[in-house]
Amino acid sequence: MGGPTSFSAWGLLRRAFGGAWGEQWRSPEPKAAYDAVIVGAGGHGLATAFYLASEHGLRNIAVLDKGWLGGGNTGRNTTIIRSNYLWDESAAIYEHSLKLWEGLSQALNYNVMYSPRGVMMLAHNQHDVRVFRRHVHANRDQGIDNEWLTPEEAKVFCPPLDIGRDVRYPVLGAALQRRGGVARHDAVAWGYARAASALGVDIVENCEVTGISRGLDGAVTGVETTRGPIRTGKVGVVAAGHTSVLMAMAGVRMPLESFPLQALVSEPIKPVMPCVVMSNTVHAYISQSDKGEMVIGASTDVYPSYSQAGGPHVAMHTLEAICELFPSFRRLRMLRNWGGIVDCTPDRSPIIGLTPVPGLFVNCGWGTGGFKATPASGHVFAATIASGKPHPIAAPFNLDRFRTGRLIDEAAAAAVSH
């Protein structure tokens, strides 16, 4: 089998004088049976496979995808990473993720370009101010960095920001997590795919799951795919917006609704935006990619849809907010926009763990903010699949919470999608 050669400065220098890099992961035919099958080769699914192989010794496993790896929401998001959530359960998983981000390029031997340039969340009214200060206090209790900035301090941290008072929603302050930032989304998928493939994981693209087979006892026995049936006793569904569709194949109804979420990028310009700025109230998310494009996150449409194309008025609403916050960006032209299908839970927290069907596991409901969780999501889900018991950090995010009422209500905490 043999993995790809390790990346190093020496290797880079050597290839400057010729020689191809070669393929970074194998593209095998699916086998007839695996110890576990992950459905969905996005960041979360590939991370799950990597940690199953590297930490739990499960190497006879496959990751299936109906398209190409990293071709869904992983490859089309605003790549924001932060951990300053309100509730302890959320802070625990997102902080676990942030710590994994900090060492991820080394762990994968692949540069995911994690850049802790700071994530600043703007407050525009008294309610925002109180909510964000409450977050700052909660985060201090949790040992997570988050600090309050005055408008003047926010302007120093992000010079293009307009803190004038003569706008509809003036900036009244900001909460800043300095360890927050961005990473290169494609590299995250490619890095996990390459590392997992080198450990023996089969990544099978263009292989859509069309059914989940179960035995007389109700337990999972395999999956039906467009490339033939595959036997397995463990199936992990990591399919974002299509989770409800897949779980219906096993007769499980989910507390999920799928919405198109849009993002867009501008033409590339010189470096001007030193950090990530988020505003929940006027709904604007913006940072600058290393290529120079402004990366802008818009809202979801108001109705569930699998169309992968949100309404133009939704993106327009965000651009109006961006133009008011950053008047110097008003002449920028937008290069392209796209819509991904995100699966939202009623409490806007994910679902990670066991299902009523033995052998069927699910990792879903990341809604509009799943990218930041990619490493931790895969890490705790792999432990859950390997042992058949929820990882302690994943345990509160069980599917049963909608019956017990123990919701983790980040919907109320953030008041908007996040």
Partner: protein, 86 residues
């Protein structure tokens, strides 16, 4: 932006409406934990034809049922509550 045919006001732009979730959910007579959780939280979320409710918030203010395909977003019909389903 969708053009939504309100049963009372005719076709109007989506911005006048509030989406009101999956249609035909029935409040359970016996409030067991399972039945209550299903009523409150479980949704069909289908990829294809979907029965949903809208409210003409900035118009007549009334709720109505709507059938829309979630892949194409095409609306095949709307009907007043209690009327024959579209």
């Amino acid at each position: 932006m969708l053009l939504i045919p309100c049963p009372w006001c005719g076709p109007r732009p989506e911005a006048e409406f509030h989406h009101a979730g999956q249609a035909h959910l029935t409040r359970p007579a016996q409030a067991t934990d399972e039945a209550w959780a299903a009523y409150l939280y479980l949704r069909n979320n289908p990829k294809g034809p979907h029965a949903e409710r809208w409210r003409h918030l900035h118009g007549c203010g009334r709720f109505f049922n709507c059938r829309r395909d979630t892949v194409t977003d095409r609306i095949s019909g709307t009907s007043a509550p209690g009327a024959e389903a579209v």
